[in-house]
Symmetry: C2
Subunit: 364 residues, 2 copies
């Protein structure tokens, strides 16, 4: 059983169920999100996190935006209200590509509907928005499961796996990406041990990934990030499996800071290095990793542990959110559309399909 | 100006001045240690830490043990009291090689003195113990400065240096080992930037090394351990300089967990990797790193940040204190006796001197 990070409960007049991820692993608290202000706060404060999960949450946010409209409200006004809600929710996480993509999809569905139907009524619009949000949700669930099914063959019985950060159910609507592979292998009765980097500064590994794996009954060991190489040296790690945030046309991949070092250490020790990511992670407009901008996060994430300041006053902090793993260090990328071993632009293009390739690049 | 982690103040009736390292970098608190019970607690609770600093503290502990003896106390009883104090202080840190070495040296000096002099009096014994403790202190100070002088040539103007854990003044009686090199380069007017790994789980880098470098007016940037590889990739690091806890005959070196990974990452990026350590760190009775036992530290060091538990209940933790960097990854070992580039057993033996080599191995 994996956690349901984002789940709509009921019909058009239902609510969005969230897990309060800020309180994990200490407490497991479920929230009922009933208006867009509450959802804005939840996204902003990382109560709900992970690009796919935020995308799905945003989609349901638009259901919340229209569900309470007065039955007298005109269909044009309802559409306007939906667009305003999308702008508002989008400002909670301005760099969240999945969030904008999901809400744009619903907006354009709603616009088409209103334009095409002379006598569209509010209730029909509300149902359309819910149906589309449910579709986005279901696609995410299916995508996660498919990544797991595609990747589970890489986990052999008795192995040790290393993972970094959280690419699990808590980051998606389904059962995650990297962790989905482990959940599927576990379902097939394979026994294995997962070493989880705690993942400084925000500790998503220690807090969230360890919690998810433990819930699923998978053997889990938490380590500090600086211990991974020494584990590899001792032969305790057979493969590294992580998620990815953005993959360039040549296969270079941005993921949580620390992933690049792991890819070097894995190669040095002859260990397979897998990235698990939905096909929507590929950005073919970006030629190589050099062109992926790296977000610098606030210094206080490193400077403070809880309320305690751990560095002297006035000392500079360097806190990049991501790093870039070069394609040559990646054994395979596992997506819902298939697996690419030793990724190259040619192979990525083939997997995504010529049509998608054309759409994304404008090339023939 | 570097911090005086361990400094005797006054004559035979003086006290041992310590810096309370548990309170750094938040507060700079000086302690006056006036009896062996207080010193035992200080060592046990890591108020004073670092093998050389603890060795010097133990030596002065024996001064504290005999300074308050009644003038009527017989010289034999005083000697007995000194031995008991050494046993007691030794139990505060049973694996502290420097602690035992320093106290053994004083005990044996005191025994020789009592045996050789028919009418030795208590005051003479007290002075002998203080003189020997002062000699141990001074040797440590000289050793540190000499390592700095031997190593500063490896720091060029304008470079970026990475260090891990704390091999500074706070770990010795003098100005440290790895940091001594930086202090000497700084004294010569070289400008450089030091990136400091925070060094999970106990954060000696973020807390202590950053504090020392800042105090000295050296440019310092704190990073999380998992960021080092990405900094190297971007060309921001020209060399890695760390301490070492124990070095085998072939040059394999035990140091704080994480050092091994740094050595791999440095090699991958063509970056020099230096270890700074006193000659007493070499243990020629150990053929290679395989034979160095690795201490496992308590899980709670990883499990808790301050009072907050960051991992789910019941999850296993792996927390080795050290790892082993193979000699082939080490560009040079810098000791007070000289510098060994690309260390081999032959070169180490030559530097330590045939005599010492014979003493330590029993070989001719």
């Amino acid at each position: 059983m994996v956690a349901a990070a984002v789940k709509w409960v009921g019909g058009v007049d239902g609510f969005l169920g969230l897990i309060d991820q800020r309180q994990l692993p200490g407490e497991f608290v479920k929230l009922q999100c009933r208006d867009i202000e509450q959802l804005y706060e939840a996204i902003k404060t990382l109560t709900v996190r992970g690009a796919p999960a935020i995308g799905v949450a945003g989609a349901y946010g638009l259901v919340l935006a229209v569900q309470k409209l007065d039955t007298q409200c005109s269909i044009r006004d309802a559409l306007e209200c939906l667009k305003k809600a999308a702008d508002y929710l989008g400002s909670s996480r301005p760099t969240g590509a999945n969030l904008f993509r999901a809400m744009d999809r619903i907006k354009s569905k709603a616009e088409d509907f209103v334009a095409s139907k002379a006598k569209a009524n509010l209730q029909e619009l509300q149902e359309l928005v819910l149906n589309e949000a449910n579709a986005i949700y279901q696609e995410d669930v299916d995508m996660c499961r498919q990544i797991g099914e595609n990747g589970e063959k890489f986990i052999k019985d008795g192995v040790g796996i290393l993972t970094h950060c959280n690419a699990g159910a808590l980051a998606t609507a389904g059962q995650g990406t990297a962790l989905s592979i482990m959940f599927e292998a576990h379902k097939k009765g394979k026994r294995f041990k997962v070493y989880v980097d705690e993942t400084r500064p925000l500790l998503q590994g220690a807090r969230l990934t360890a919690w998810e794996l433990k819930q699923a009954g998978i053997n889990v060991v938490v380590i500090c990030d600086n211990m991974a190489g020494w584990l590899m040296k001792q032969g305790k790690i057979n493969s590294v499996i992580t998620g990815a945030d953005r993959i360039a046309a040549n296969g270079d991949a941005a993921n949580k800071i620390g992933t690049y070092s792991l890819s070097i250490l894995a190669r040095e020790h002859g260990i397979s290095f897998y990235l698990a990511a939905p096909s929507s992670t590929f950005d073919l407009s970006i030629k190589s990793g050099d062109q992926i901008p790296i977000e610098q996060r606030p210094s206080d994430e490193v400077r403070f542990l809880g309320k305690e300041k751990i560095t002297p006053d006035g000392v500079e902090i360097y806190n990049p959110a991501f790093d870039i793993t070069p394609a040559e260090n990646i054994t395979a990328i596992i997506s819902e559309k298939g697996t690419i071993q030793q990724p190259t632009e040619e192979k990525i293009r083939r997997m995504l399909g010529q049509k998608l390739w054309q759409e994304k690049t404008g090339k023939i």
